[in-house]
Amino acid sequence: MVRGRWRGWKLWTLWGRAITSILLVLLLMGTCVGLLRALENMTSSSAENEKLYFPSGYFLREATVGFRSVVADYLWFQTIQYYGSYRQGEHDLRYFQGLVDGVVQLDPHFIEAYYFGSLVASVDQQAIPYAVDLLKRGILANPDRWLLPFHIGFLYYVLEPDYERAALWFHLATQSPDANDFVRRFAAFARKKAGNLEGSIVLWQHLYDTTSNPAMKELAERMITHCEESLRQHESNPDSGGL
């Protein structure tokens, strides 16, 4: 009888301990989640300013001994996320150029970064001189890629617009060993029909068709709609000017 009661007590203490431990774990877990949420609320307002303290690419080049490309990839994620939060209306992209500069300083062969960075800088920030400068840096590091000079021509053609310069850069792109038929065709087209809106639509459509980047696709779609509207307006009122 005593032994039975002892066994029961022992079992109860075992269960009691287990239940107490589980409750304690759950309580602590809940506390951690609560604290983390409170901290998140505190930091979300200053999250954008974090980018202000991001070290320069030149410093990171030396600090990331042997693993520059991996750090460049990490910075690229940050850039994409930063752009995503801009699209959601969280900020005005003020640190975007610093982030892109960091990526290309760490990995000067990162073509996607030059391409995307220059497009966002020129369309969303209207910073065409910066975009052209970024692409020129890209050409210096990657002289054999048609995409970079072609993209400078693209910016001059659809955004500046400076058709003479655009034609010059398109021609330069045709000289690259990896230039495809589209580049050659468009360079010839730009020489003959400079300033025509259909040319801009062809360029944006080509970007839309060839990019796998959803942000760039969305941007190209926006610009195609814009060009088509301008074209319609131009057709209904030919004196209203170009793009």
Binding site: V65, S69, F77, Q81
Partner: protein, 256 residues
């Protein structure tokens, strides 16, 4: 003579494999698979590049970890257990013993890199990235870099504690990757003496950047055969130098 060294090497290889080293490879595989699966939706437009970068970077990083963690403890363990005394009673000289240890860990590194490379290629295929033969050059040069670091950790472990040997080896790695910047810094400073001093330092300390062709491989830049050949010779010469120094120190060391 060679047989005695080979026996030590074989034994070291077995010992390091038992030293849970292949768990690290498993972790590597999991991280790689996990990262490529998780990161792929975020890596807009550059998925292949990022998977390749992370894979090659992780190979070098895990290799370095293995060299530092295992290499720095290798000698101390045998000294503590006094097994070294038993081994040295056999017809094995101290230099042969050290060479055996070096070869054993190098064999472990090689087998680890082979496993990692296979995993890496599988992941590239899963991510629909065509593995180019150029990747073989990156694997090979990563192996050479780790071999050189292996010789360095062995040298440090002959005269300092395992913790210090690990710290020194990490410093060796960092300095090795910064040596080019050091010379550039000297040239920017301008004075003749500074240029000369930085030049001397540059040639004395190893230049591990010659083995870092990971970025070039990922971007499809050509890797010349002469670069591979010269890097191999450089690794051979520097490793031999470090092993000779290690042998000289170890043969004079009192074994307690």
């Amino acid at each position: 003579m060679l047989t005695n060294g080979t026996a030590v090497a074989r034994n070291t290889f077995r010992e390091t494999v038992r030293d849970r080293i292949f768990y690290i490879v498993a972790v590597f595989g999991l991280i790689l698979i996990g990262s490529s699966a998780v990161l792929s939706p975020l890596t807009i437009g550059a998925q292949g590049k990022i998977v390749a970068d992370v894979g090659l970077g992780a190979m070098a990083m895990f290799g370095l970890l293995v060299v530092v963690l295992v290499g720095s403890n290798m000698l101390r363990k045998e000294l503590d257990k006094q097994t070294i005394a038993t081994i040295l009673t056999k017809p094995v000289t101290r230099r042969q013993y050290l060479l055996g240890k070096f070869c054993g860990l190098t064999m472990t590194l090689l087998s680890m890199l082979v496993v990692m490379s296979i995993l890496f290629v599988i992941i590239l295929l899963i991510c629909r990235v065509t593995p180019h033969p150029r990747f073989l050059a990156a694997f090979f040069l990563t192996f050479l870099e780790l071999t050189l670091i292996n010789a360095a950790v062995l040298l440090f472990s002959t005269f300092v504690s395992p913790t210090l040997a690990a710290v020194f080896t990490l410093c060796f790695f960092v300095i090795g990757h910064l040596s080019e910047s050091l010379m550039e810094f000297g040239q920017v400073m301008g004075s003749r003496l500074q240029i000369l001093v930085t030049k001397i330092i540059y040639y004395v300390i190893p230049n591990l950047e010659v083995f870092n062709i990971r970025s070039a491989v990922v971007h499809g830049d050509p890797i010349s055969f002469s670069h591979l050949l010269l890097a191999t010779l450089y690794c051979g010469a520097y490793t031999a130098l470090l092993l000779i120094l290690a042998g000289a120190i170890f043969s004079r060391r009192e074994l307690r």
